[in-house]
Symmetry: C2
Protein backbone atom coordinates (compact mmCIF):
# COMPACT_ATOMS: atom_id res chain seq x y z
CA UNK A 1 0.00 0.00 0.00
CA UNK A 2 1.40 3.35 -1.08
CA UNK A 3 2.00 6.10 1.46
CA UNK A 4 -0.79 8.62 1.65
CA UNK A 5 -0.06 12.17 0.50
CA UNK A 6 -0.91 14.60 3.27
CA UNK A 7 1.37 17.63 3.29
CA UNK A 8 1.20 19.61 0.08
CA UNK A 9 3.11 22.68 -1.11
CA UNK A 10 1.22 24.74 -3.69
CA UNK A 11 3.19 26.49 -6.41
CA UNK A 12 0.99 29.00 -8.15
CA UNK A 13 -2.03 31.07 -7.16
CA UNK A 14 -4.25 31.18 -10.24
CA UNK A 15 -7.61 29.54 -10.84
CA UNK A 16 -6.35 25.96 -11.04
CA UNK A 17 -4.17 26.36 -7.92
CA UNK A 18 -7.05 27.95 -6.03
CA UNK A 19 -9.73 25.41 -6.94
CA UNK A 20 -7.49 22.35 -6.45
CA UNK A 21 -6.00 23.36 -3.12
CA UNK A 22 -9.43 24.39 -1.80
CA UNK A 23 -10.83 20.97 -2.69
CA UNK A 24 -7.80 19.18 -1.23
CA UNK A 25 -7.98 21.20 2.00
CA UNK A 26 -11.68 20.40 2.24
CA UNK A 27 -10.80 16.70 1.86
CA UNK A 28 -8.55 17.01 4.92
CA UNK A 29 -5.22 17.51 3.19
CA UNK A 30 -2.71 19.88 4.70
CA UNK A 31 -1.63 22.71 2.40
CA UNK A 32 1.57 23.81 4.10
CA UNK A 33 2.80 26.65 1.86
CA UNK A 34 1.76 28.71 -1.12
CA UNK A 35 4.51 30.04 -3.36
CA UNK A 36 3.69 32.58 -6.04
CA UNK A 37 5.61 35.39 -7.72
CA UNK A 38 2.32 37.30 -7.67
CA UNK A 39 2.27 38.48 -4.04
CA UNK A 40 -1.33 39.73 -4.06
CA UNK A 41 -2.79 36.48 -5.44
CA UNK A 42 -0.43 34.31 -3.40
CA UNK A 43 -1.33 36.04 -0.15
CA UNK A 44 -5.03 35.83 -0.91
CA UNK A 45 -4.82 32.10 -1.53
CA UNK A 46 -2.59 31.47 1.52
CA UNK A 47 -5.03 33.38 3.68
CA UNK A 48 -7.94 31.39 2.30
CA UNK A 49 -6.08 28.15 3.05
CA UNK A 50 -4.82 29.46 6.38
CA UNK A 51 -1.20 28.64 5.50
CA UNK A 52 2.11 30.36 4.86
CA UNK A 53 2.70 32.47 1.76
CA UNK A 54 6.29 32.61 0.49
CA UNK A 55 7.58 34.93 -2.21
CA UNK A 56 11.00 33.30 -2.57
CA UNK A 57 11.06 29.83 -4.04
CA UNK A 58 14.25 29.04 -2.15
CA UNK A 59 12.18 29.04 1.02
CA UNK A 60 10.09 26.03 -0.02
CA UNK A 61 10.12 23.47 2.72
CA UNK A 62 11.97 20.35 1.49
CA UNK A 63 10.01 17.58 3.18
CA UNK A 64 6.43 17.96 1.91
CA UNK A 65 4.77 14.86 0.43
CA UNK A 66 3.90 16.69 -2.76
CA UNK A 67 4.74 19.85 -4.69
CA UNK A 68 1.75 20.86 -6.80
CA UNK A 69 2.83 23.08 -9.71
CA UNK A 70 -0.16 24.96 -11.12
CA UNK A 71 1.37 27.71 -13.24
CA UNK A 72 1.53 28.60 -16.94
CA UNK A 73 3.04 25.97 -19.22
CA UNK A 74 6.09 27.91 -20.26
CA UNK A 75 7.20 28.37 -16.62
CA UNK A 76 6.77 24.78 -15.38
CA UNK A 77 10.18 23.42 -16.32
CA UNK A 78 12.27 26.25 -14.88
CA UNK A 79 10.24 26.44 -11.66
CA UNK A 80 10.36 22.65 -11.21
CA UNK A 81 14.16 22.79 -11.37
CA UNK A 82 14.20 25.12 -8.38
CA UNK A 83 12.30 22.73 -6.14
CA UNK A 84 14.66 21.12 -3.69
CA UNK A 85 13.19 17.89 -2.34
CA UNK A 86 14.48 14.40 -1.85
CA UNK A 87 11.37 12.27 -1.72
CA UNK A 88 8.48 14.64 -2.31
CA UNK A 89 6.43 14.02 -5.46
CA UNK A 90 6.72 16.93 -7.88
CA UNK A 91 3.59 17.15 -10.05
CA UNK A 92 2.19 19.61 -12.53
CA UNK A 93 -1.43 20.19 -13.50
CA UNK A 94 -1.00 20.97 -17.18
CA UNK A 95 -2.77 19.16 -20.00
CA UNK A 96 -0.13 19.78 -22.62
CA UNK A 97 3.27 19.81 -20.89
CA UNK A 98 5.16 16.53 -21.00
CA UNK A 99 5.96 14.65 -17.82
CA UNK A 100 9.64 14.68 -18.90
CA UNK A 101 10.13 18.26 -17.78
CA UNK A 102 9.99 16.97 -14.20
CA UNK A 103 12.33 14.00 -14.59
CA UNK A 104 15.33 15.38 -12.69
CA UNK A 105 13.27 14.69 -9.56
CA UNK A 106 13.17 11.31 -7.85
CA UNK A 107 9.37 11.13 -7.75
CA UNK A 108 7.18 13.06 -10.15
CA UNK A 109 3.87 12.94 -11.94
CA UNK A 110 0.83 14.59 -13.50
CA UNK A 111 -2.36 15.70 -11.78
CA UNK A 112 -4.43 17.19 -14.62
CA UNK A 113 -8.04 18.22 -14.01
CA UNK A 114 -9.87 18.19 -17.37
CA UNK A 115 -12.05 21.17 -16.54
CA UNK A 116 -12.21 24.95 -16.83
CA UNK A 117 -11.91 26.91 -13.58
CA UNK A 118 -12.87 30.55 -13.14
CA UNK A 119 -12.80 32.94 -10.29
CA UNK A 120 -16.03 32.89 -8.26
CA UNK A 121 -17.54 29.99 -10.22
CA UNK A 122 -18.04 26.86 -8.13
CA UNK A 123 -17.24 23.59 -9.87
CA UNK A 124 -18.48 20.19 -8.73
CA UNK A 125 -15.03 18.61 -8.25
CA UNK A 126 -16.49 15.10 -7.80
CA UNK A 127 -17.33 15.03 -11.54
CA UNK A 128 -14.03 16.43 -12.79
CA UNK A 129 -11.93 13.88 -14.71
CA UNK A 130 -8.41 13.71 -13.26
CA UNK A 131 -5.78 12.48 -15.70
CA UNK A 132 -2.96 10.93 -13.68
CA UNK A 133 0.55 9.85 -14.60
CA UNK A 134 3.38 8.87 -12.25
CA UNK A 135 7.09 8.23 -12.48
CA UNK A 136 6.66 4.85 -10.79
CA UNK A 137 3.91 2.43 -9.85
CA UNK A 138 4.12 3.64 -6.30
CA UNK A 139 3.87 7.32 -7.24
CA UNK A 140 0.95 6.59 -9.54
CA UNK A 141 -0.87 4.85 -6.71
CA UNK A 142 -0.26 7.78 -4.39
CA UNK A 143 -1.57 10.27 -6.95
CA UNK A 144 -4.62 8.14 -7.69
CA UNK A 145 -5.39 7.96 -3.97
CA UNK A 146 -5.05 11.70 -3.70
CA UNK A 147 -7.31 12.33 -6.70
CA UNK A 148 -9.89 9.94 -5.25
CA UNK A 149 -10.10 12.11 -2.16
CA UNK A 150 -11.69 14.87 -4.27
CA UNK A 151 -13.13 13.23 -7.42
CA UNK A 152 -14.92 10.09 -8.60
CA UNK A 153 -13.57 10.37 -12.14
CA UNK A 154 -9.94 9.20 -12.19
CA UNK A 155 -7.99 8.05 -15.26
CA UNK A 156 -4.43 6.75 -15.58
CA UNK A 157 -3.29 8.23 -18.89
CA UNK A 158 0.15 8.83 -20.43
CA UNK A 159 1.43 12.20 -21.63
CA UNK A 160 0.71 11.62 -25.34
CA UNK A 161 -2.92 10.76 -24.64
CA UNK A 162 -3.30 13.56 -22.13
CA UNK A 163 -2.18 16.06 -24.78
CA UNK A 164 -4.96 14.79 -27.05
CA UNK A 165 -7.53 15.48 -24.37
CA UNK A 166 -6.04 18.94 -23.91
CA UNK A 167 -6.33 19.69 -27.63
CA UNK A 168 -9.94 18.53 -27.75
CA UNK A 169 -10.70 20.56 -24.60
CA UNK A 170 -9.77 23.62 -26.65
CA UNK A 171 -12.22 22.51 -29.34
CA UNK A 172 -15.14 21.99 -26.97
CA UNK A 173 -14.46 24.81 -24.50
CA UNK A 174 -12.29 27.66 -25.80
CA UNK A 175 -13.81 27.69 -29.27
CA UNK A 176 -17.50 27.53 -28.24
CA UNK A 177 -16.72 30.30 -25.75
CA UNK A 178 -15.40 32.40 -28.62
CA UNK A 179 -18.57 31.62 -30.61
CA UNK A 180 -20.65 32.78 -27.63
CA UNK A 181 -18.72 36.04 -27.76
CA UNK A 182 -19.45 36.41 -31.48
CA UNK A 183 -23.16 35.91 -30.78
CA UNK A 184 -23.02 38.31 -27.83
CA UNK A 185 -21.41 41.07 -29.87
CA UNK A 186 -23.71 40.56 -32.85
CA UNK A 187 -26.82 40.79 -30.68
CA UNK A 188 -25.38 43.69 -28.68
CA UNK A 189 -24.87 45.67 -31.88
CA UNK A 190 -28.63 45.32 -32.50
CA UNK A 191 -29.52 46.00 -28.87
CA UNK A 192 -30.73 42.45 -28.38
CA UNK A 193 -30.37 40.39 -25.23
CA UNK A 194 -27.83 37.54 -25.32
CA UNK A 195 -29.54 35.89 -22.34
CA UNK A 196 -32.28 34.58 -24.63
CA UNK A 197 -29.66 32.14 -25.95
CA UNK A 198 -28.82 30.68 -22.54
CA UNK A 199 -31.43 27.87 -22.53
CA UNK A 200 -30.24 26.83 -26.00
CA UNK A 201 -26.58 26.89 -24.93
CA UNK A 202 -27.37 24.71 -21.94
CA UNK A 203 -29.41 22.26 -24.01
CA UNK A 204 -26.63 22.04 -26.61
CA UNK A 205 -24.26 20.73 -23.96
CA UNK A 206 -26.90 18.50 -22.38
CA UNK A 207 -27.93 16.84 -25.59
CA UNK A 208 -24.44 15.59 -26.37
CA UNK A 209 -24.56 13.43 -23.24
CA UNK A 210 -27.26 11.24 -24.75
CA UNK A 211 -27.03 11.82 -28.51
CA UNK A 212 -23.98 10.65 -30.46
CA UNK A 213 -22.13 13.71 -31.87
CA UNK A 214 -22.58 12.31 -35.37
CA UNK A 215 -26.36 12.44 -34.97
CA UNK A 216 -26.64 15.64 -32.95
CA UNK A 217 -26.00 18.01 -35.85
CA UNK A 218 -29.00 20.11 -36.89
CA UNK A 219 -29.42 23.48 -38.61
CA UNK A 220 -29.36 24.98 -42.10
CA UNK A 221 -25.91 23.63 -43.05
CA UNK A 222 -26.92 20.11 -41.98
CA UNK A 223 -30.09 20.43 -44.11
CA UNK A 224 -28.08 22.10 -46.91
CA UNK A 225 -30.68 24.86 -46.91
CA UNK A 226 -28.93 27.22 -49.33
CA UNK A 227 -31.48 30.03 -48.99
CA UNK A 228 -31.02 30.24 -45.24
CA UNK A 229 -27.22 30.04 -45.54
CA UNK A 230 -27.31 32.91 -48.03
CA UNK A 231 -29.55 34.98 -45.75
CA UNK A 232 -27.19 34.43 -42.81
CA UNK A 233 -24.17 35.42 -44.91
CA UNK A 234 -25.87 38.64 -45.94
CA UNK A 235 -26.71 39.35 -42.30
CA UNK A 236 -23.03 38.95 -41.41
CA UNK A 237 -21.69 41.28 -44.09
CA UNK A 238 -20.59 43.81 -41.45
CA UNK A 239 -19.03 41.10 -39.26
CA UNK A 240 -16.15 39.77 -41.39
CA UNK A 241 -14.54 37.69 -38.63
CA UNK A 242 -17.79 35.94 -37.74
CA UNK A 243 -18.55 35.47 -41.45
CA UNK A 244 -15.18 33.79 -41.94
CA UNK A 245 -15.92 31.26 -39.19
CA UNK A 246 -19.46 30.86 -40.53
CA UNK A 247 -18.18 29.99 -43.99
CA UNK A 248 -15.47 27.57 -42.86
CA UNK A 249 -17.69 25.54 -40.53
CA UNK A 250 -20.75 25.64 -42.83
CA UNK A 251 -18.68 24.39 -45.75
CA UNK A 252 -17.34 21.52 -43.63
CA UNK A 253 -20.78 20.49 -42.37
CA UNK A 254 -22.20 20.46 -45.90
CA UNK A 255 -19.18 18.51 -47.15
CA UNK A 256 -19.46 15.98 -44.34
CA UNK A 257 -23.12 15.17 -44.86
CA UNK A 258 -23.55 15.63 -48.62
CA UNK A 259 -20.26 14.68 -50.35
CA UNK B 1 -59.48 40.56 -23.89
CA UNK B 2 -58.45 38.42 -26.82
CA UNK B 3 -60.15 35.12 -27.57
CA UNK B 4 -58.30 32.13 -26.22
CA UNK B 5 -56.78 29.71 -28.74
CA UNK B 6 -58.07 26.21 -28.06
CA UNK B 7 -58.42 24.15 -31.22
CA UNK B 8 -55.14 23.74 -33.07
CA UNK B 9 -54.29 22.06 -36.38
CA UNK B 10 -50.69 20.88 -36.60
CA UNK B 11 -48.94 21.00 -39.96
CA UNK B 12 -45.75 18.98 -39.83
CA UNK B 13 -44.57 15.99 -37.83
CA UNK B 14 -40.88 16.60 -37.12
CA UNK B 15 -39.16 17.42 -33.86
CA UNK B 16 -40.54 20.96 -33.47
CA UNK B 17 -44.10 19.84 -34.31
CA UNK B 18 -43.85 16.92 -31.90
CA UNK B 19 -42.42 18.84 -28.95
CA UNK B 20 -44.73 21.86 -29.35
CA UNK B 21 -47.96 19.96 -29.81
CA UNK B 22 -47.12 17.64 -26.92
CA UNK B 23 -46.56 20.62 -24.64
CA UNK B 24 -49.74 22.34 -25.87
CA UNK B 25 -51.82 19.19 -25.40
CA UNK B 26 -50.41 18.82 -21.90
CA UNK B 27 -51.48 22.42 -21.22
CA UNK B 28 -55.05 21.45 -22.13
CA UNK B 29 -55.12 22.61 -25.73
CA UNK B 30 -57.01 20.55 -28.26
CA UNK B 31 -54.90 19.33 -31.19
CA UNK B 32 -57.60 18.48 -33.71
CA UNK B 33 -55.61 17.28 -36.73
CA UNK B 34 -52.08 16.47 -37.79
CA UNK B 35 -51.22 16.97 -41.45
CA UNK B 36 -47.93 15.67 -42.80
CA UNK B 37 -46.77 14.41 -46.19
CA UNK B 38 -44.69 11.89 -44.23
CA UNK B 39 -47.38 9.32 -43.36
CA UNK B 40 -45.29 7.32 -40.89
CA UNK B 41 -44.25 10.35 -38.83
CA UNK B 42 -47.67 11.99 -39.15
CA UNK B 43 -49.48 8.89 -37.96
CA UNK B 44 -47.08 8.43 -35.05
CA UNK B 45 -47.64 12.00 -33.90
CA UNK B 46 -51.43 11.85 -34.38
CA UNK B 47 -51.54 8.63 -32.37
CA UNK B 48 -49.49 10.20 -29.60
CA UNK B 49 -51.87 13.18 -29.52
CA UNK B 50 -54.91 10.98 -29.92
CA UNK B 51 -56.17 12.99 -32.91
CA UNK B 52 -56.82 12.61 -36.61
CA UNK B 53 -53.98 12.23 -39.13
CA UNK B 54 -54.66 13.55 -42.62
CA UNK B 55 -52.46 13.01 -45.65
CA UNK B 56 -54.25 15.46 -47.95
CA UNK B 57 -53.92 19.12 -47.06
CA UNK B 58 -57.28 19.84 -48.71
CA UNK B 59 -58.90 17.97 -45.85
CA UNK B 60 -57.78 20.50 -43.23
CA UNK B 61 -60.73 21.57 -41.18
CA UNK B 62 -61.43 25.28 -41.86
CA UNK B 63 -62.57 26.45 -38.45
CA UNK B 64 -59.67 25.74 -36.08
CA UNK B 65 -58.40 28.63 -33.92
CA UNK B 66 -54.84 28.16 -35.11
CA UNK B 67 -52.84 26.45 -37.85
CA UNK B 68 -49.35 25.69 -36.54
CA UNK B 69 -46.89 25.25 -39.42
CA UNK B 70 -43.76 23.45 -38.23
CA UNK B 71 -42.04 22.33 -41.43
CA UNK B 72 -38.81 23.14 -43.27
CA UNK B 73 -38.31 26.79 -44.24
CA UNK B 74 -38.45 26.31 -47.99
CA UNK B 75 -41.91 24.68 -47.78
CA UNK B 76 -43.66 27.17 -45.46
CA UNK B 77 -44.89 29.64 -48.08
CA UNK B 78 -46.40 27.10 -50.48
CA UNK B 79 -48.03 25.07 -47.71
CA UNK B 80 -49.44 28.20 -46.05
CA UNK B 81 -51.15 29.13 -49.34
CA UNK B 82 -53.05 25.86 -49.29
CA UNK B 83 -54.60 26.52 -45.89
CA UNK B 84 -58.21 27.49 -46.29
CA UNK B 85 -59.45 29.35 -43.22
CA UNK B 86 -61.39 32.52 -42.64
CA UNK B 87 -60.53 33.50 -39.10
CA UNK B 88 -57.98 30.94 -37.90
CA UNK B 89 -54.52 32.29 -37.08
CA UNK B 90 -51.90 30.83 -39.41
CA UNK B 91 -48.50 30.76 -37.69
CA UNK B 92 -45.11 29.28 -38.44
CA UNK B 93 -42.39 28.26 -36.03
CA UNK B 94 -39.31 29.22 -38.04
CA UNK B 95 -36.58 31.54 -36.82
CA UNK B 96 -35.53 32.77 -40.23
CA UNK B 97 -38.64 32.91 -42.45
CA UNK B 98 -40.29 36.31 -42.66
CA UNK B 99 -43.83 36.81 -41.40
CA UNK B 100 -44.72 38.19 -44.86
CA UNK B 101 -44.98 34.72 -46.39
CA UNK B 102 -48.22 34.31 -44.44
CA UNK B 103 -49.80 37.65 -45.27
CA UNK B 104 -52.49 36.43 -47.66
CA UNK B 105 -54.28 35.19 -44.52
CA UNK B 106 -56.52 37.38 -42.41
CA UNK B 107 -54.77 36.52 -39.13
CA UNK B 108 -51.23 35.27 -38.98
CA UNK B 109 -48.14 35.27 -36.82
CA UNK B 110 -44.94 33.71 -35.55
CA UNK B 111 -44.52 31.20 -32.75
CA UNK B 112 -40.75 30.57 -32.68
CA UNK B 113 -39.21 28.50 -29.87
CA UNK B 114 -35.53 29.45 -29.56
CA UNK B 115 -34.38 25.95 -28.69
CA UNK B 116 -33.08 22.73 -30.26
CA UNK B 117 -35.43 19.76 -30.16
CA UNK B 118 -34.40 16.16 -30.72
CA UNK B 119 -36.21 12.89 -30.76
CA UNK B 120 -36.31 11.27 -27.32
CA UNK B 121 -34.66 14.22 -25.56
CA UNK B 122 -36.95 15.92 -23.07
CA UNK B 123 -36.75 19.72 -22.99
CA UNK B 124 -37.96 21.88 -20.13
CA UNK B 125 -40.47 23.92 -22.15
CA UNK B 126 -41.04 26.42 -19.31
CA UNK B 127 -37.52 27.83 -19.93
CA UNK B 128 -37.75 27.99 -23.72
CA UNK B 129 -37.84 31.56 -25.08
CA UNK B 130 -40.82 32.00 -27.42
CA UNK B 131 -40.40 34.78 -29.97
CA UNK B 132 -43.86 36.00 -30.92
CA UNK B 133 -45.09 38.23 -33.72
CA UNK B 134 -48.68 38.81 -34.82
CA UNK B 135 -50.48 40.44 -37.73
CA UNK B 136 -52.54 42.56 -35.33
CA UNK B 137 -52.59 43.56 -31.67
CA UNK B 138 -55.35 41.06 -31.09
CA UNK B 139 -53.50 38.18 -32.76
CA UNK B 140 -50.35 39.05 -30.86
CA UNK B 141 -52.26 38.90 -27.58
CA UNK B 142 -53.76 35.55 -28.49
CA UNK B 143 -50.32 34.11 -29.37
CA UNK B 144 -48.75 35.49 -26.20
CA UNK B 145 -51.51 33.89 -24.14
CA UNK B 146 -50.95 30.59 -25.90
CA UNK B 147 -47.17 30.74 -25.37
CA UNK B 148 -47.73 31.53 -21.71
CA UNK B 149 -49.63 28.29 -21.33
CA UNK B 150 -46.39 26.37 -21.92
CA UNK B 151 -43.47 28.75 -21.18
CA UNK B 152 -42.42 31.51 -18.80
CA UNK B 153 -40.07 33.10 -21.31
CA UNK B 154 -42.12 35.09 -23.85
CA UNK B 155 -40.82 37.87 -26.11
CA UNK B 156 -42.63 40.05 -28.62
CA UNK B 157 -40.06 40.45 -31.41
CA UNK B 158 -40.30 41.46 -35.07
CA UNK B 159 -39.06 39.36 -37.99
CA UNK B 160 -35.77 41.24 -38.48
CA UNK B 161 -34.79 40.76 -34.85
CA UNK B 162 -35.97 37.16 -34.80
CA UNK B 163 -33.68 36.40 -37.74
CA UNK B 164 -30.76 37.75 -35.72
CA UNK B 165 -31.54 35.35 -32.91
CA UNK B 166 -31.77 32.54 -35.43
CA UNK B 167 -28.34 33.37 -36.85
CA UNK B 168 -26.77 33.50 -33.39
CA UNK B 169 -28.49 30.22 -32.48
CA UNK B 170 -26.45 28.66 -35.29
CA UNK B 171 -23.29 30.13 -33.75
CA UNK B 172 -23.97 28.83 -30.24
CA UNK B 173 -25.64 25.52 -31.10
CA UNK B 174 -24.89 24.14 -34.58
CA UNK B 175 -21.23 25.18 -34.58
CA UNK B 176 -20.33 23.95 -31.07
CA UNK B 177 -22.07 20.68 -31.99
CA UNK B 178 -19.78 20.41 -35.00
CA UNK B 179 -16.78 21.10 -32.77
CA UNK B 180 -17.94 18.31 -30.44
CA UNK B 181 -17.93 16.03 -33.47
CA UNK B 182 -14.39 17.08 -34.36
CA UNK B 183 -13.28 16.26 -30.81
CA UNK B 184 -15.19 12.96 -30.87
CA UNK B 185 -13.57 11.84 -34.11
CA UNK B 186 -10.10 12.94 -33.06
CA UNK B 187 -10.31 11.03 -29.78
CA UNK B 188 -11.93 8.02 -31.47
CA UNK B 189 -9.02 7.79 -33.89
CA UNK B 190 -6.75 7.39 -30.84
CA UNK B 191 -9.15 5.04 -29.06
CA UNK B 192 -9.88 7.62 -26.39
CA UNK B 193 -13.22 8.17 -24.70
CA UNK B 194 -15.12 11.36 -25.64
CA UNK B 195 -17.17 11.07 -22.43
CA UNK B 196 -14.25 12.49 -20.45
CA UNK B 197 -15.07 15.84 -22.08
CA UNK B 198 -18.70 15.89 -20.92
CA UNK B 199 -18.14 17.66 -17.56
CA UNK B 200 -16.10 20.32 -19.37
CA UNK B 201 -18.78 20.76 -22.05
CA UNK B 202 -21.45 21.19 -19.40
CA UNK B 203 -19.35 23.67 -17.43
CA UNK B 204 -18.61 25.69 -20.59
CA UNK B 205 -22.31 26.31 -21.05
CA UNK B 206 -22.91 26.90 -17.34
CA UNK B 207 -20.15 29.44 -16.95
CA UNK B 208 -21.54 31.74 -19.61
CA UNK B 209 -24.64 32.26 -17.48
CA UNK B 210 -22.62 34.12 -14.85
CA UNK B 211 -19.46 35.26 -16.65
CA UNK B 212 -19.63 37.89 -19.39
CA UNK B 213 -18.59 36.29 -22.73
CA UNK B 214 -15.82 38.86 -23.02
CA UNK B 215 -14.26 37.61 -19.80
CA UNK B 216 -14.98 33.91 -20.17
CA UNK B 217 -12.27 33.23 -22.74
CA UNK B 218 -9.40 31.05 -21.52
CA UNK B 219 -6.88 28.75 -23.20
CA UNK B 220 -3.61 28.94 -25.14
CA UNK B 221 -4.87 31.40 -27.79
CA UNK B 222 -6.17 33.73 -25.08
CA UNK B 223 -2.76 33.55 -23.35
CA UNK B 224 -0.97 33.78 -26.73
CA UNK B 225 1.01 30.72 -25.72
CA UNK B 226 2.76 30.15 -29.05
CA UNK B 227 4.47 26.91 -27.98
CA UNK B 228 1.18 25.25 -27.10
CA UNK B 229 -0.49 26.54 -30.27
CA UNK B 230 2.36 25.07 -32.32
CA UNK B 231 2.10 21.72 -30.50
CA UNK B 232 -1.66 21.58 -31.18
CA UNK B 233 -1.13 22.37 -34.85
CA UNK B 234 1.41 19.56 -35.17
CA UNK B 235 -1.04 17.19 -33.46
CA UNK B 236 -3.70 18.12 -36.04
CA UNK B 237 -1.52 17.56 -39.10
CA UNK B 238 -3.62 14.54 -40.13
CA UNK B 239 -6.90 16.38 -39.51
CA UNK B 240 -6.89 19.17 -42.11
CA UNK B 241 -10.52 20.23 -41.57
CA UNK B 242 -10.11 20.55 -37.81
CA UNK B 243 -6.77 22.30 -38.33
CA UNK B 244 -8.46 24.85 -40.59
CA UNK B 245 -11.02 25.71 -37.92
CA UNK B 246 -8.28 25.71 -35.29
CA UNK B 247 -6.25 28.25 -37.24
CA UNK B 248 -9.14 30.58 -38.07
CA UNK B 249 -10.50 30.79 -34.52
CA UNK B 250 -7.07 30.88 -32.85
CA UNK B 251 -5.97 33.74 -35.09
CA UNK B 252 -9.13 35.68 -34.25
CA UNK B 253 -8.76 35.17 -30.49
CA UNK B 254 -5.12 36.31 -30.57
CA UNK B 255 -6.08 39.31 -32.73
CA UNK B 256 -8.93 40.25 -30.42
CA UNK B 257 -6.92 40.24 -27.21
CA UNK B 258 -3.45 41.31 -28.43
CA UNK B 259 -3.86 43.68 -31.39
Amino acid sequence: MANIINNIVCIGSGNVATHLTSALAKAGKNIVQVYSPNAAHGQTLAKKLNCLYISNINNLQPNADMYLIAISDDAIESVAKKINTEKGIVVHTSGITDIKVLNHHKNFGIFYPLQTFSKNVTVNMQDVPFLIEGSSQNTQQQLIQLAKSISNNIHLIDSEKRKKFHLTAVLVNNFPTYLYLQAYEYLKSANLNFDLLLPLIRETGNKIKTVNPEKAQTGPARRKDLNVLETHRRMLSNFPDTLKIYNVITQQIVKKYYE
